[in-house]
């Protein structure tokens, strides 16, 4: 049975201490000004009581990842054996087609490698059986990582225990694998995925393909038709000439 890695974030245990962010920076030497993970602090007033919610975030390793769909070279791919969304630096050209595609704004162009960078669930670490850096360091133990397909895993247990939600809307639901526990609190708009966007070139691309496909199809049909008619024509000619000979 294949694995399915998921991340759980219990927002009631998160204290916005940023340990996960620094741990990630140290582990993967991400350049300043960029980060693979973050904590969003949302504050508002509800019947004149202030309220604060905290949302640790990172790539959500979606099942129908729009970034993979947008990547021309297949540098963005989903690893079959555990479903994490990775990036093949060898192939990535840094064209950024995937960046606006991500509803969670998890992807960015790394100025040091000139390729796209994002959370990999610490793929090199988990391949060695280690927890992701952010999970290992999380002060409130708000982050839990594991294999959802393994009924004995902690994540499976927790998913059973409580009601978890995902950052999805009716418009945008690409099957994220990052779960959140808010103790029933509604998710604030600030953390909701944005309707994914395209560069203008991407938008054109969306038209080029179908149009091209239709064009090709039409052309094929035309000449198939022509071919048939031609054959029929030939047949008639032949028959005609045969008839002549008979006479």
């Amino acid at each position: 049975m294949t694995k399915k890695y998921v991340m759980l974030a219990d927002t009631t245990r998160c204290i916005n201490c940023k340990a996960c962010v620094v741990a990630c920076r140290a582990e993967w030497e991400t350049p300043m000004g960029h980060t693979r993970d973050w904590v969003k602090e949302v504050e508002w007033v509800q019947n004149d009581q202030p309220k604060v919610m905290l949302f640790p975030g990172r790539c959500q390793h979606c099942d129908d990842a729009p970034c993979i769909e947008a990547c021309p070279s297949g540098a963005a791919y989903k690893r079959e054996e555990d479903g994490i969304v990775l990036l093949d630096n060898g192939i990535c050209s840094g064209c950024e087609l995937c960046i606006p595609a991500c509803p969670y704004e998890a992807r960015w162009l790394n100025p040091e490698t000139n390729t796209i960078s994002k959370c990999t669930f610490c793929q090199p670490r988990i391949d060695e059986g280690l927890a992701p850096a952010c999970v290992q360091t999380c002060v409130g133990r708000a982050l839990v990582f594991g294999d959802k397909n393994d009924p004995n895993s902690e994540v499976s247990r927790l998913l059973e225990e409580k009601t978890w939600v995902k950052l999805t809307t009716d418009e945008v639901n690409v099957g994220p694998n990052h779960y959140y526990y808010t103790a029933g609190e509604a998710l604030p708009d600030e953390v909701m995925p944005k309707q994914y966007d395209r560069h203008l070139s991407g938008k054109v691309m969306e038209i080029v393909n179908p149009v091209g496909a239709i064009g090709l199809g039409a052309m094929l049909l035309t000449f198939l038709g022509a071919g048939v008619i031609k054959l029929v024509g030939r047949r008639n000619e032949v028959c005609a000439s045969e008839n002549k000979e008979e006479k």
């Binding site: 030497e29 350049p31 300043m32 000004g33 100025p111 040091e112």
Partner: protein
């Protein structure tokens, strides 16, 4: 083999007709902490160079101008500390490659390790008592001097690589910062000299 600061004494290397090692040694020495002994070494070195340098060399005027500046005094020590140790926010003249090349301006970045590895490949490391990091300008220049003094292809290759792919990426910024922090003549000239050396 540890070489920083010991290397200066290896006069046989300095006798070579090839002036490159001396030039880089001089540069290295100029940016190192000024001590009476070191200043003497530098004078010796400078005299050698003044003799061997052809009249038309662009380097010559700077070397000549440098000569009278090469005498040890307290002001020099303070100036050295002000410029390279107490980097103030308005004029950080950090003498470390890593500072200029790492996105967080931290020391001991990957750039430092590259140099360390390069040195290791030539059987060299920074002397522990020197208090210098491998990518400190003094270490780097002295390393180049060492490479220039070796006449094998590997050394020449490393030197080229070092200058073109590493030094070129940070020393110009360093020189600019140094110029901005209106240094005393000694360091002004050191900056000009290094600039000249880079071209």
């Amino acid at each position: 083999m540890c070489f920083i600061l010991i290397f200066l004494k290896q006069t046989d290397l300095l006798k070579k007709v090839n002036r490159q090692p001396q030039l880089y040694l001089l540069a290295s020495g100029l940016f190192n902490q000024p001590t009476p002994a070191r200043i003497n070494d530098l004078c010796r070195l400078l005299n050698d160079l003044l003799q061997t340098t052809p009249k038309n060399a662009p380097m010559l005027p700077i070397l000549k101008a440098l000569k009278p500046q090469l005498n040890y005094n307290k002001v020099l020590k303070t100036e050295y500390s002000r410029l390279f140790i107490l980097a103030f926010p308005n004029e950080p003249v950090q003498p470390f490659a890593s500072y200029w090349l790492e996105s967080d301006h931290s020391l001991m970045g990957n750039s430092t390790l590259e140099i360390k590895k390069m040195m290791a490949e030539h059987g060299i490391e920074v002397a522990e008592n020197s208090g210098l990091l491998p990518d400190h300008i003094v270490s780097e220049l002295e390393f180049i001097a060492y490479l220039a003094s070796q006449d094998d292809e590997k050394a020449r290759q490393t030197q080229r690589q070092l200058l073109e792919q590493h030094c070129a990426r940070w020393m110009p910024q360093f020189i600019e910062a140094l110029n901005k922090s209106n240094p005393m003549p000694y360091y002004q000239l050191a900056a000009d000299f290094l600039k000249q050396l880079m071209v």
